[in-house]
């Protein structure tokens, strides 16, 4: 069959056109398609690799930052505890001091009050004594005046006193 023969017999025309076309297409594609495409792919791959590396670094930095933050937090917490404790101590001390002072003052006040009361009492007692003495003298005077109204009574008293005085001297 002639067709069969032509199937395995390369024709010159087709070889010519194929070579021309393929080489032209190869050249054009290499220059205007493959070069930018392969470059684009390479750049993108590089940028993705970069981005991944950066992300990893950022993650690490973040972790370091977190660790530092936690440290700071812990320190701050400790400091706060310390401050609070100090404040509490100071407060307690102040309260105790205030209490002491108040107590002392109260005691002083009481003591003064007691002294005043004593003084007043003494004064009152003295006054009372004085009045009682005056009253007694008044009463005694009245009684004496009553009793010693006659001479006879006066004489008996003198005798009595004299006797007593003698008794005491002997």
């Amino acid at each position: 069959m002639p067709f069969l023969a032509s199937l395995v017999n390369p024709s010159i025309g087709l070889i010519f056109w194929m070579t021309l076309t393929f080489v032209t297409v190869l050249f054009l594609l290499a220059k205007f398609a493959w070069k930018p495409i392969l470059k684009g792919l390479k750049d993108r791959e590089a940028s993705i690799a970069d981005a991944l590396g950066e992300a990893k670094r950022a993650r690490e930095e973040m972790a370091a930052l977190n660790a530092r933050n936690e440290d700071l937090m812990r320190q701050a917490r400790e400091e706060r505890e310390l401050l609070l404790k100090e404040a509490r101590d100071i407060r307690d001390r102040e309260i105790a001091a205030a209490k002491d002072k108040a107590k002392a003052e109260a005691e002083a006040l009481l003591a003064r009050a007691r002294t005043d009361i004593q003084n007043e009492k003494n004064a009152a007692l003295t006054e009372m004594k004085n009045q009682v003495a005056e009253l007694s003298i008044l009463v005694a005077e009245r009684i004496l005046r009553e009793k010693l109204a006659d001479t006879k009574a006066q004489q008996s008293l003198v005798d009595k006193v004299m006797a007593e005085a003698q008794l005491r001297r002997s």
Binding site: M1, P2, F3, L4, S6, L7, V8, N9, P10, S11, I12, G13, L14, I15, F16, W17, M18, T19, T21, F22, T24, V25, L26, L28, L29, A30, F32, A33, W34, K35, P36, I37, L38, K39, G40, L41, D43, R44, S47
Partner: protein, 376 residues
């Protein structure tokens, strides 16, 4: 995958068969000498009656081979330029329509069985009557834009359009995720780069990537376009031996030009082999140098052509049986259709696999040629 192209394939074939191979004359040509695109229906019923039996072999070979003019449907074909040169008549360029489907002579040439022959007859003579000038036919170079050449141009335009627009996308959307067409071809480009070039050639692959990518996509587009039954598909471009020859030859040239000392040393004096063995081994290695691209050429050609032949054979079965009885024809049609659907699926796979195999083997040969010596 839609069935539409397949149905079109069926219709196209039926149309082609109805039109017949036109071995008989149709009607009278119109007065201008130009063929009318669509002949009358009666004319080709007569033609069929005259042509007699359906010839599956001629049909298949006609579709698998090349042609001047691009057959579209029925009697309509797209005329393509015929370019001929010989020292006696000089350069002749004219439309393939002038041959009137091989029925007429023009400019001292005619079509015989799809091939241009030089004839000694005035324009417009019946091609079958014209005396063939054998000596001049042999001296004539046929550089016509045939169906396969036109397909090649279509593929080239497609390749340039697709990949230059994709390249623009890389410039426009630098560093961003691919979209659209870029997204579609990027995995294949990466596949060729990483799984073909990088794995077969190694660190020096970048220099050969443009060739490997171009070859891959040229073959892949050619294979796929060959599966499309309607214009501008259907040509058996990658199943044409001239096409695979050129591709294999380019691989051969790249391998030979880039072969390093290590490569040549292995061919002419395989290290560690005694002298008397070399006497046998060296011719084998030298033969292998040529055999490798030869096998590349044959593999692609045979795989793609076989696919086309099988698909067409199943269709032909319908008409072969249809000639015995219409019932048998319809019966076989169902089986043939189912089988062709299956074949079509397989061919889709083959389209990719053969492009891959050709590129991968080319990369392997290049890899062997540029490989740095290992420490034995």
């Amino acid at each position: 995958m839609s069935l539409k192209p397949l149905l079109r394939h069926v219709f196209l074939l039926i149309a082609a068969l109805l039109a017949g191979r036109s071995t008989a004359q149709h009607g009278t040509p119109d007065s201008t000498g130009h063929p009318t695109a669509v002949a009358s229906a009666e004319a080709h019923v007569d033609a069929h009656a005259a042509a007699g039996k359906f010839n599956a072999g001629d049909l298949i070979m006609g579709h698998v081979g090349d042609e001047h003019g691009w057959h579209l449907w029925g009697h309509t074909s797209l005329p393509l330029p015929v370019i001929l040169y010989n020292s006696e008549r000089g350069l002749s360029v004219f439309s393939s329509a002038r041959f009137d489907h091989g029925h007429k002579t023009f400019g001292g040439y005619a079509l015989h069985e799809g091939h241009v022959v030089a004839v000694d007859a005035p324009d417009g003579t019946d091609a079958h009557q014209a005396p063939v000038n054998e000596a001049l036919t042999k001296a004539t170079v046929d550089l016509s834009i045939t169906k396969n050449v036109a397909t090649m141009f279509v593929i080239s335009v497609l390749l340039l359009w697709v990949f230059i627009s994709v390249a623009r996308a890389y410039g426009r959307r630098e560093g961003q995720a691919p979209t659209g067409l870029q997204n579609l071809v990027e995995p294949i480009i990466l596949f060729v780069r990483d799984d073909v070039a990088k794995s077969a050639i190694g660190p020096k692959h970048e220099k050969y990537l443009p060739y490997l990518l171009t070859a891959f996509f040229f073959i892949f587009f050619g294979n796929m376009l060959g599966l499309v039954p309607i214009f501008p598909g259907g040509a058996n471009l990658t199943g044409n031996i001239a096409v695979t020859l050129v591709l294999a030859l380019i691989t051969f040239v790249i391998v030979t030009v880039n072969g390093n000392r290590h490569y040549w040393h292995h061919i002419f004096a395989m290290p560690g082999v005694p002298g008397w063995v070399l006497a046998i081994l060296t011719p084998v290695e030298v033969l292998g140098m040529f055999l490798k691209p030869f096998v590349l050429m044959i593999r692609l050609f045979a795989n793609i052509t076989a696919g086309h032949i099988i698909a067409l054979s199943f269709y032909s079965l319908i008409f072969v049986f249809g000639e015995t009885s219409a019932g048998a024809g319809y019966g076989v049609a169902i089986g043939s259709w189912a089988f062709t659907v299956f074949m079509f699926m397989l061919e889709l796979l083959v389209a990719f696999i053969q492009a891959y195999v050709f590129t991968f083997l080319s990369a392997m040969y290049i890899g062997a040629a540029v490989e740095e010596p290992h420490h034995h």
